[in-house]
């Protein structure tokens, strides 16, 4: 018996998918006429309203990992899944309070504009572009791998083909439509996602007479009270603190998010867009609570985990349960739109780091003309898009969460400290900024590679599996021996000799197990998320090097920068 239409291309999902693709391609055609200057290509001519930019920010930020992953986590792990929902939101207020004014008032296209404002252009732009590109590439790999897996899950299309389709569409949007087309793809995605999730929640609640008491009552009846209580997800408070830092300050260092500050006409609209975005994103995460617990009750955990052990299909399965194949088809298309909107934003941000910071700022020393800039931007888009397709295929089967973790750790450790210090601390210098940026990139990626998630689970995967196998074999072996002795004991009654043999066998088993476990590959760095160390040291390096290498010009220009940060553009 076929329980679900998931994994098979269904006419409704294909129709919704085609409808979305045709619609967005139409928008790209319309936007292509409005993407001819650099300002139009990267910042949509600074014409997006606060409300629309808020939706686009939500579309840029809510990735497939949030859409499928968090509802899945709640449905399989219960309350512990909620801890993630909260963590993904708290970076937004930080963006609003700390960096919205300086970012908007000092910059033009990238956050490197802000860091380089009173420091030496070339070294800063080279360093900031490197850290931006590292952040973007990790994020992009995660999204591409997620896209391949998701599209295969939903439509039954092969992984590689799915990656190529996603890659080509994203190149098309960005190359021809620039920021304007990307913005509209993100707005449409956000509206579809928020609308679809709202309908899903309403249909779910209708099953429980619109009573949360009833819903949670069923949850505790089926899975026990502990499903609604915090469990074992946070084992080490230090690890939790470090992850919290990465999520909180990483959001404020994501190049594709920061870039959206330049698409609105003024700072008032920029603030409004952060307010709307925080509202939309928060609303979405609150909906995932109902979707997660609802699917645990209605679809049941067993079925969800039978389809995908990580629970990623909880939302689509719930949609199918409540609205049949048409609703599943709709949500599948929304999932696809979700990935496209995020990868398009990432590609655009990567292209701006490559062309604005590296080419115009470093190679041409700021002397490129308009036509040349747009041309380079388009070449950069093409290069990044093709790179993303190859990386997506190369990293097939990698853990998406690890890659996103990389991206947030690098953003929090490299981009954020330099950004904050450059606008708040008069004595910050070029050398300090460059040191801080590189320290952040190298330490965060290095420590993640040396940490348990990569060093043990990826690099020493085979050794780990071998040791686990040895232990398991030995355990089965000694279990049989003990069982045989127990049987003898039952037949011949309690004999000192047999009891001693059992005890001896047990001690031997424990010792041997310990000995075998010692061969288990160990992580060189003990934490999964290094932000606590790498972000701290990046700040420290920036401060110490700045104090050791005073830069007079940077200090003099600080007053000029200060007026601009607080009062805004147009005060020459």
């Amino acid at each position: 018996m076929q329980l679900t239409a998931i994994g098979h291309a269904h006419i409704t999902s294909i129709l919704f998918f085609l409808f979305f693709v045709l619609g967005t391609l139409g928008i790209t055609y319309w936007a292509a006429k409005r993407a001819r200057t650099t300002e139009e290509f990267y910042a949509a001519g600074r014409s997006v309203t606060g409300f629309r930019n808020g939706l686009a920010l939500a579309g840029d930020y809510i990735s497939a990992a949030s859409f499928l992953g968090i509802a899945g986590l709640v449905s399989t792990k219960g309350y512990d899944g909620l801890i993630y929902s909260v963590g993904w939101l708290v970076g937004w207020p930080i963006i609003m309070f700390l960096i919205s004014e300086p970012l908007r008032n000092l910059g033009k296209y990238t956050f490197a504009d802000v860091v380089a404002y009173r420091l030496k252009q070339r070294p800063i732009r080279a360093a900031a572009a490197s850290s931006s590109l590292v952040t973007i590439l990790f994020y992009l790999i995660a999204q591409m791998v997620g896209a391949g897996t998701l599209v295969r899950f939903i439509f039954g299309v092969p992984y590689d083909a799915a990656i190529v389709v996603v890659g080509l569409l994203m190149i098309f949007y960005v190359l021809f439509g620039g920021m304007l087309a990307t913005t509209w793809v993100q707005i449409i995605k956000a509206v579809l996602l928020l609308g679809g999730a709202t309908i899903l929640v309403l249909l779910t609640l209708a099953q429980f007479g619109f009573s949360y008491g009833e819903l949670f009552g069923q949850v505790s009846k089926m899975y026990g009270d502990q499903f609604l209580e915090p469990g074992g997800l946070i084992t080490s408070p230090l690890e939790a603190f470090s992850l919290g830092l990465a999520l909180m300050f990483g959001t404020a260092g994501l190049p594709h998010i920061l870039m959206r500050f330049y698409t609105v006409p003024d700072i008032k609209e920029a603030r409004k867009s952060v307010f709307y975005a925080t509202g939309f994103i928060g609303y979405f995460y609150i909906l995932t609570v109902t979707i997660g617990f609802g699917s645990a009750v209605l679809v049941t955990r067993k079925v969800i985990m039978g389809i995908d052990i990580g629970g990623n299909m909880a939302g689509p399965l719930l949609a199918e349960f409540l609205g049949g194949t048409p609703f599943l088809g709709f949500l599948a298309a929304v999932g696809f739109a979700t990935i496209l909107a995020v990868v398009a934003g990432l590609t655009l941000a990567g292209a701006s780091a490559l062309s604005q910071d590296l080419y115009v700022g470093v190679v041409r020393r700021g002397a490129a003309n308009e036509k040349e800039e747009v041309k380079v931007a388009k070449i950069a888009t093409l290069v990044l898009g093709i790179t993303a397709i190859f990386l997506g295929i190369l990293f097939k089967g990698q853990n998406v969460a690890i890659m996103v973790g990389f991206a947030f750790a690098v953003a929090a450790s490299a981009n954020f400290p330099a950004l904050l210090l450059s606008v708040t601390w008069r004595k910050f210098t070029t050398r300090g900024a460059v040191t801080s940026l590189y320290t952040g990139v190298v330490l965060s990626t290095g420590l993640i590679i040396l940490g348990p998630a990569v060093w043990v689970d990826v690099i020493h995967k085979d050794e780990k599996a071998a040791v686990e196998k040895q232990i398991q074999e030995f355990e089965t072996d000694s279990k049989y021996k003990i069982e045989a002795l127990e049987k003898q004991k039952a037949e011949r009654g309690t004999l000192m000799k047999i009891d001693a043999a059992i005890a001896g066998e047990r001690t031997l088993a424990d010792a041997k197990k310990k000995e075998l476990s010692a061969a288990m590959p160990k992580a060189i760095f003990p934490m999964n998320n290094p932000a606590l160390i790498s972000m701290g040291l990046s700040f420290l390096a920036g401060i110490i090097v700045s104090l050791l290498s005073p830069e007079k010009e940077a200090q003099t220009k600080f007053d000029d920068e200060k007026v601009r940060v607080y009062v805004g553009i147009g005060m020459k």
Partner: protein
Amino acid sequence: MSRKTKILNDADFKSLSEQKNTISLVLVVLELVLYFGFVALVAFNKPFLSAKLSGAITVGIPVAVGTILLSWVLTGVYILWANNKYDALVKKVKDKARGQ
């Protein structure tokens, strides 16, 4: 004296930048307390979050949803202040500098 130096020495500019710094700092600290307070509860005070509120609903559920809502409210507080009071002060300082 350049226009920028005039602004820098303007009493209104000084008060404006000080107000902005204070408000930003207070709100950032509130957000940090809010979120890391939640993480600390999860790590150190599970019984509190596991207490029953009504029926099967535990205290932890409204606390998690409340953390999200309060974060949003804080951004609302900032935008209310910035788009009204702060921007008015900025305009005043700008007009003064232009007029001289």
